[in-house]
Every structure is written in C-alpha cells, then in structure tokens.
Amino acid sequence: GARGEWCPACGVATLAPGTQRDALLALAKQSILTKLRLPARPSAPQPPARGALLAALRRLRARERSDTAVLPGMLRDGPVPQLSRGMGLQEYEILSFAESGSSTSRSVRLHFRFSQELAGSTDILQATLYLFWAVPSPGTRPVTIRILQADPAGPNMTVSSETQLDVQRSGWTTLDVGPAVRTLFGQETLRLTVELEVPEDWGSPLPADHNDSHWPFVVARAQARTPHRIHRR
C-alpha cells in the first residue's frame, strides 16, 4: 500500500480473501513446525494404548502436585516433583513408552526411543523411569535394574548403572535415569535400554500386553539449549 497507510507486516490484509486464508494456513503450519524444530509433520504416529496413556498422565499429575525431590540414583515409590522453570527458555516434557526387547526366563529388556530433533537442540533436565511391579504372591523379591549402553566398539551392550531393590508389594517404582538419558542425547543412537532381572519363579515382570495400564514409561524434561554466543575480534 501507499507509504504511511499500510505496514509491510500487514501485507496479508491486502490479499484476496481466498489467497489470504491459504497464506495464513501456510504461515501457521510453518510457524508451528519451526518452533517445534520439526522439518516436517511427524507421519503416521502410533499412539500408545489408551489405558497406558491415562495411567502415565495420572502419574504425571500426581508428580506435579508433589513437593518432594528425587535424589540422583535414588529409588523410591510414589511421585516425583516438577522442576522450576528457569531463564524463560522453552521447555519440553517427553513421555516415552517402552518397547519390549529380548527376554529370558529371568530377565527382560526394555527400549525407550527419543527423537533426534529434540536431542540436537535441547538439554535434559530430568528423566524418570516408571516401572510397575505386579507381585504374584506375598514375600520379598530381589530385583535388579540395569541401564545398558551401546558399546561404540561393537554390537554388545555395557552396563552403565545397576540398582538392586527388594520388591514387597505390587505398585509403581520410580528411578532417576537423568544421567543415562543425558549421555544418550550426546550419542547417535537415541535408544535407552533397561534390563530387568527378577527371580525365576516370578515369570515376566512386564504386563501381558501393551494395552495394560501398567506399561513402563520414561518421562523426560528438556529445555531448549541456550544459543551460543559468537564473539568477533
């Protein structure tokens, strides 16, 4: 438009109504994808089972209401807290459900995958693994949880941390896996592998199928990385 009448930023208002709508929709799509650091919209997502999702969201809601802290490496039952927001940087909360891997009569492996887009632009503030133990009969049962790391030299996995606990009753347990996920975000393969070892008479520590509301999951909190400052001499 004429100088002083329309601003360059208001150019969309001068378009024909149909073109204007198309331009706005294209702008909205591009804007959301850019802010989410996605090159394109994710295709064909496979949503988790409704029961598992509702259970996970309930656990998260309970966690947000809690004021108590989880110490690094500490295992405990019950909720974990929400982090305070810092520096006004965009934060993400990621909910990753387990994919079952190889298993034996005493152990089972779980895999949690994370996306490259977020790994390249965010820092992990906190990550918590949620596991549900379904104890078949009364009594104390020793359980070992191992965090496995891909060996850069070969196809094998190495143990990066190991935690042992005695499970006495059915219920949820949380484990701080922040350090492991943080390490993972610096690698090429963004897959967290957890191995659960239980007594042989227990059977599988996992629910019978993915639809179960007790399916294991990881909640990670990430923050957009502070842009690097460039100094010119």
């Binding site: 601003c7 909205a28 802010k35 989410l36 996605l38 994710p42 064909a44 988790p48 909910l95």
Partner: protein
C-alpha cells in the same frame, strides 16, 4: 486492544482460528484442537502512534505531538502485537513419544500502533 469488527479500518486484532482437523494435523497433535492465530491489521495514523497498546511515556507523548505537528514528516507507524501468550501443545513426535511444550508468544491477545 481493539478487536476488528464493523467498518473501522483502524488498528485492531483480527481473530483467525486454524482447525487442526481441517489441515489434517489432528492425527499428531493431541491438544489443543486448533491454533488461534490472531493477527494485527489496520491503519495507524500518526496521531495513534504509541496507543493504545504500547505503554505511553512522557517521551512517547512528546514524540507524538512532534509527529502530529509536522504532518509533512513521513513517519510510518505499524499495527503490531502488544500482548502475546504461549501456545500449549501436546503432540506425538516421529517416534510416537508424547511431547508437551509451551511455544512462547504464539497467540496475539491485543494489538496497538508502534
């Protein structure tokens, strides 16, 4: 801020809703159902510069008087967002993980002249 409506051509906030179902994004964005992509549009004559959105200060008032007094001086004033809020999104990423984030400054709540 002023919402657009009627015959006024002055700076105002135009509401525009992007329905995720309409653009075929409802399969990966869980919440919300759409995006209120409001935008600012309209004229900003010289006497409106600095109002109503931007905080009026002594300096703004003086500058406006100078601009109004010298109409021959070509000073552009733009209709821009003066108040914005984040867009909360819950979506599936490409690994089918569920991600929640607040994208800052995505929704325009009010507009004003610079």
């Amino acid at each position: 801020g002023v919402d657009c409506g009627g015959d006024s051509r002055m700076c105002c906030r135009q509401e525009f809703f992007v329905d995720f179902k309409e653009i075929g994004w409802e399969d990966w964005i869980i919440q919300p159902e759409g995006y209120h992509m409001n935008y600012c549009t309209g004229l900003c004559p010289l006497h409106m510069a600095g109002i109503p959105g931007l905080a009026a200060s002594f300096h703004t008032a003086v500058l406006n008087r100078i601009k109004a007094a010298s109409a021959s001086t070509a000073v552009d004033s733009c209709c821009v967002p003066t108040q914005r809020r984040p867009l909360s999104l819950l979506y599936y990423d490409r690994d089918s993980n569920i991600v929640k984030t607040d994208i800052p400054d995505m929704i325009v709540d009010s507009c004003g002249c610079t």
